[in-house]
């Protein structure tokens, strides 16, 4: 009897999809080293000019901006998502559990456009926050929140929260509660239990959540484009501009290659930086 029944049937469709994806990625690589012929969609011969052009301050600044925005977003997302994930896994009231779960997960399914649009109303000059702060007398004239880096980060934190909550909650729910009980019976206070047991044991979730948040933010386009309004340039907004306003697909391709490389490098770096922490916590 065949020890691996249906192997070919099960693997070949996935193989086809993988070939398609690889071909698409190769197409990006190939375009990134082709010359741009203005006014047409045709590309010229092979050249490194696209990558050389990226050394110009404008592009270097966009890369730096993107990394900074992604990093800030991931940090704030982690700080806000952790208490939610903790409450989600530790509350014994099942109605409250469902409420927290649905509130924190629903935004994931609304897509970037709906959520970004909502933030435009919150942050606008005649928007919710400005009106509220004016009415309360905190401000005497509206503060510019749209088209700023801070506004972009606030909206991105909201966009990234659900996936972080899910990953942290998955890690927290798999922690053996007996460790905490043991520490408690030995007289450790709640803060000490959290710092020496719960937090270290949830490290794998923190690392996974942080890198995913970073990668998602790197990928985000609607938020920096709409909230940044062209005044906050990131890799994604540049790629779209180059591709669809000037039809410079070779340059857009080379930017996305560098974007991909940068995002992979940061994630690899995060994993490396986190591994001593994980070893210390004994989870690796």
């Amino acid at each position: 009897m065949n020890a691996r029944p249906f192997l070919g049937w099960f693997v070949s469709p996935a193989g086809l999809v993988a070939v398609g994806l690889l071909a698409a990625m190769l197409a990006v690589f190939q375009y990134s080293v082709r010359a741009y012929i203005p006014g047409t969609l045709e590309v010229g011969g092979y050249t490194w000019a696209n990558f050389e052009a990226m050394l110009r301050p404008l592009y270097a600044l966009a890369f730096w901006n993107t990394v900074l925005i992604c990093f800030e977003t991931a940090v704030f997302t982690l700080l806000l998502a952790y208490p939610l994930a903790y409450a989600l896994t530790r509350t014994s009231n099942s109605a409250l559990r469902s409420f927290i779960l649905i509130v924190s997960v629903t935004p994931l399914f609304l897509g970037e456009v709906v959520r970004t649009y909502s933030w435009m109303i919150v942050l606008g000059n005649n928007g919710f926050l400005n009106t509220l702060l004016l009415k309360l007398g905190v401000l005497d004239r509206p503060v510019q929140m749209m088209f700023t880096g801070g506004g972009v980060v606030a909206a991105l934190v909201h966009v990234t929260m659900p996936i972080m909550v899910i990953m942290l909650a998955a890690a927290l729910s798999h922690i053996d509660r007996n460790y905490e009980k043991a520490a408690e019976s030995l007289g450790a206070g709640p803060i000490r239990i959290f710092m020496t047991i719960t937090l270290p044991l949830s490290m794998p979730g923190i690392v996974a959540g942080f890198s995913t948040a970073f990668a998602w933010t790197f990928s985000a386009f609607a938020t920096p484009q709409l909230i940044g309004g062209g005044r906050v340039s990131t890799v994604s907004t540049l790629i779209y501009q180059l591709g669809f306003s000037s039809f410079n697909f070779p340059f857009a391709a080379s930017l996305s290659i560098i974007g991909l490389a940068l995002s992979l490098a940061v994630i690899a770096l995060l994993k490396k930086a986190a591994s001593p922490l994980e070893r210390m916590a004994g989870t690796k």
Partner: protein, 271 residues
């Protein structure tokens, strides 16, 4: 159990913190819901006069209706293909060793970290090089690629929980592998496959960045139509549409939660 004042303070400050974070998550939804009933054609908070006309416009605006049906077509095809392809592959990964196994798995999971604009741009360039054109198959392919990792994960979790003794029992009673697959394995995997399909469908319906690259005027999905609308108009039509979106999604999730157990699907249930 008696608690010290310090522990009590900690407990309550924890609760206040969680409530504040929940408020942050809910705030944009509430603000957008109130704005949707604003009578005036500019975004202003709070509204001075009220009306339902933006809801009417959201329903009658042709691009939204077209985007909705386009999106539905793409979503149904993409998530169905992804469930068949992804779960079969997850099964093979889980049970068998074969050539290029880890390589293939790595490639198919990579859309989790490859920026979506890179995927969109790649598929677009590929289409122009091969002369496929920007029709529905192209958009559907891009979506299959992006939702496949989620389907694989969901099937993988179900396979971990599957009791293989049932398959052995069927086998020892003389059932052929094909029969075991269709009468034992697949029926046991149904909840996992369904939740994988649902997850894929919701993600595909809302996917924006890559779709912007690969869709054309004829194949644009709802999020793309919405994005184009914000860039052209400043009225609250999109707020009305967002409200419909939020209500439908929250309802679907509440239903999914009570029937399937969202915590189980997302693997966040305490053990």
């Amino acid at each position: 159990m008696k608690r010290s004042p310090g522990a009590l303070l900690l407990r309550w400050s924890g609760r206040v913190l969680v409530a504040a974070i929940l408020l942050f998550v809910l705030l944009p939804g509430v603000v957008v819901a109130i704005s949707a009933f604003n009578d005036r054609a500019i975004l202003q908070f709070p509204p001075q006069s009220w009306s339902l006309r933006w809801f009417w416009r959201a329903f009658s605006y042709a691009d939204f209706a077209k985007g909705f049906w386009n999106g539905l077509t793409v979503t149904v095809w993409a998530s169905s293909i992804a469930v068949v392809v992804g779960s079969a592959f997850a099964f093979a990964i889980h049970r068998y060793k074969f050539a290029l196994r880890d390589f293939l798995e790595g490639i198919l999971l990579s859309p989790l970290i490859i920026p979506h604009y890179t995927i969109g741009l790649g598929v677009l360039i590929l289409a122009s090089q091969t002369g496929i054109g920007r029709g529905f198959p192209l958009v559907i392919f891009a979506h299959v690629v992006m939702v496949l990792p989620f389907v694989m994960r969901s099937t993988y979790i179900s396979l971990e929980n599957l009791d293989t003794r049932l398959e052995l029992a069927a086998s020892s009673l003389g059932a052929t592998p094909l029969r075991i697959l269709f009468t034992v394995t697949i029926p046991l995997l149904i909840p996992g496959l369904l939740s994988g399909w649902l997850f894929a469908a919701i993600l595909s319906f809302n996917e924006f960045t890559a779709t912007l690259f690969v869709s054309s005027q004829a194949t644009q999905t709802l999020p793309v139509a919405m994005y184009n609308y914000v860039r052209e108009f400043a009225d609250p039509t999109l707020a009305a549409l967002s409200v419909i979106y939020i209500v439908v999604t929250a309802t679907l999730l509440t239903i999914a939660n009570s029937f399937l157990g969202l915590g189980k699907i997302l693997n966040v249930d305490a053990h």
